[in-house]
Amino acid sequence: MNHAVAGTAPTAPETDDQRTVLALTNVTKTYPGTPPVHAIRGVDLDIRSGELVAIVGPSGSGKSTLLHVIGTLDRATSGTVSVAGYDVDNLNDKQLSSLRSRHIGFVFQQFFLLAGETALDNVADGLLYTGMALGDRRLLAEQALSQVGLSHRMSHEATKLSGGERQRVAIARALIGSPDIILADEPTGNLDSQSGKDVVRLIEDLNANGTTIVVITHDHEIASRFPRRVSLLDGGVVEDTRMIGSGGFR
């Protein structure tokens, strides 16, 4: 994989299992206004390589804001955010783009697949902004599609697939560059219950193979299946529980 990181390795030597891929320290996000809106307040969160974490909470609890801050799409008002060992505060906009292109994968509720492109090319677009040649990206995309069980749909137009299949294409796109962390925002929100279950199972399978995944959901049933659950309320973490045992924290 060519996650080219110039310069020194960002983290101290650790075994892969221990490596912290996401560290939030006393992070707040306030939107200006009268009165100002404190979307998240004083969040501390530490996610290690290989974890499967559900961030759960009702509407307005700050889930989406937290996802945007973790995904470096938005900056925290205060506190420190470190993703894949990079201190986000010290990176400019271009460097943040670069961080997203190589270290973070996104899965959205609305899929956001490009119309007029095949499933294969949509997945290949996951590495579009790394500068990798299209041929190489397509090879990796084939592997990613087979990982999500869609080898037979490669040449289909992505937006014409079923909802469950579209979300699996989107997951493959997040997966393709083997990012340090995959952020999934309500990945089952637009799916029927069966497709939703299939997608959750796929997420669990990918995690079992070592992928670090953070799922944001308002669905406690889904959250309860995951080995770690972070509950948000009014912008603050109210509960952070880890299930110890098989399929749990590794």
Partner: protein
């Protein structure tokens, strides 16, 4: 932590693919918005092409006729003169150094009819003029058939007809020995001239020699018009001395004109018309540009989700703006190519139908494409900046 990240990169081929997505998925809209550019560029290429083609035709004509001919006429009207030049004016003109050829024309006042049975007065607008035998050479005219008046026939009742006069008199072959009723005599037609572009009045005339006019028409032979060919380099000097040379007593009664000026004036009038049409083409182009800008702005609004996704995938603001700028540029380029092709086709078809040489000026093709590209950049700039400014978090909230 102070570490450097390799920057996000978008390969040129991928940039092209990204810019083509909007055009591929919204084909009809793209075609319609590109149509404005097609029409604008086609109008400009067509106008320039047609004007060049017609100009080349005119220049060829001027080249053939020469611009070194002057026409001297006696002024007519109250207080100006009698419509006659002094009798010895032709000799005087011939003495001017740079003058190469001189030929005169005199109005005889006679009429010509097809037969003696045609009622008097139905002249068909044909005048009878007495002319020097070197007139045709001086005018650089051509015979359509037969021969021009020469010394051998100088005092015989023979006549040469202008092209329109021959047609009106029903004479098709100048060498066929047709006779016409001229004055009170039968005259033999010995030749018919081709159309004379520089002296169209002779197309509607029947020409006889001075001696014939004197003998058969009782005409004194005072010239009313003199044609002068001069050394092209001295044409202006010759022109300025001619009035005083012809009529030293009252040079004001002499009018000197340059017949080729009329063709040049026609060219200037055509140029003014061309400029007007070019202006209209530019307006069409401007409207086309506004059309593209409009479509691009709408496209940016519609594709906020895609913009958000691309930012999440690692696109920088620059990548987003280049994608939309590229889209506008591709649209304008395709419009420009279509316009150049359409404009060239129209020019070629029209020039061919007029029998002109087909001339599609490089400046129109290159200028047309350049105009399209500039319009593309200008039309795409604002939408591209808007797209780059879209906040990724806002964009991703769009359903």
């Amino acid at each position: 932590m102070n570490v450097s990240l390799e920057p996000s990169r978008l390969a040129p081929a991928d940039m092209m693919r990204a810019s083509l997505i909007g055009l591929r998925t919204r084909r009809l809209r793209s075609i319609l918005s590109g149509l404005g550019i097609v029409i604008g560029i086609a109008a400009m290429v067509g106008v320039l092409g047609l004007s060049e083609s017609s100009k080349s035709d005119l220049l060829a004509q001027l080249d053939q006729l020469g611009t070194n001919m002057l026409r001297i006429e006696a002024g007519t009207g109250i207080g100006i003169g009698t419509g006659e030049l002094p009798e010895d004016s032709i000799v005087m003109v011939d003495r001017v150094g740079p003058v190469e050829q001189v030929a005169s024309i005199s109005e005889t006042g006679a009429s010509v009819y097809r037969t003696d049975l045609v009622p008097t007065g139905q002249t068909g607008g044909i005048t009878v003029k007495a002319v020097d035998s070197n007139l045709l050479a001086t005018l650089q005219g051509q015979m359509a058939s037969g021969v021009f008046l020469d010394e051998a026939a100088s005092d015989l009742p023979v006549v040469v007809l202008g092209s329109v006069a021959a047609e009106r008199l029903g004479v098709t072959d100048g060498a066929g020995g047709t006779v016409v009723w001229l004055g009170d005599e039968w005259f033999s037609v010995v030749g018919v001239m081709d159309t004379l572009d520089l002296s169209p009045d002779l197309d509607r005339a029947a020409l006889v020699s001075y001696s014939t006019a004197e003998e058969f028409l009782d005409h004194g032979g005072v010239p009313s018009t003199i044609y002068v060919r001069s050394d092209p380099d001295d044409i202006d000097a010759v022109r300025s001395v001619l009035p005083a040379t012809v009529n030293p007593e009252s040079p004001d009664e002499v009018e000197v004109t340059r017949p080729s000026d009329a063709l040049e004036a026609k060219e200037a009038a055509d140029q003014a018309f061309t400029n007007l049409l070019l202006g209209l083409g530019a307006v069409a182009l401007l409207v086309g540009g506004v059309g593209i800008a409009n479509v691009m702005v709408i496209s940016v609004l519609e594709r906020r989700g895609e913009i958000g996704l691309r930012r999440a995938l690692g696109a920088t603001k620059g990548h987003i703006s280049i994608q939309f700028l590229g889209e506008s540029l591709i649209l304008a380029t395709l419009g420009g190519l279509g316009g150049v092709a359409l404009g060239s086709a129209v020019t070629a078809a029209y020039a061919w139908s007029q029998g002109w040489g087909i001339l599609i000026p490089t400046v129109a093709v290159v200028g047309g494409m350049a105009a399209a590209l500039i319009i593309g950049v200008i039309a795409g700039l604002y939408p591209a900046m808007r797209a780059a400014r879209v906040s990724p978090t806002e964009a991703l909230r769009t359903l």
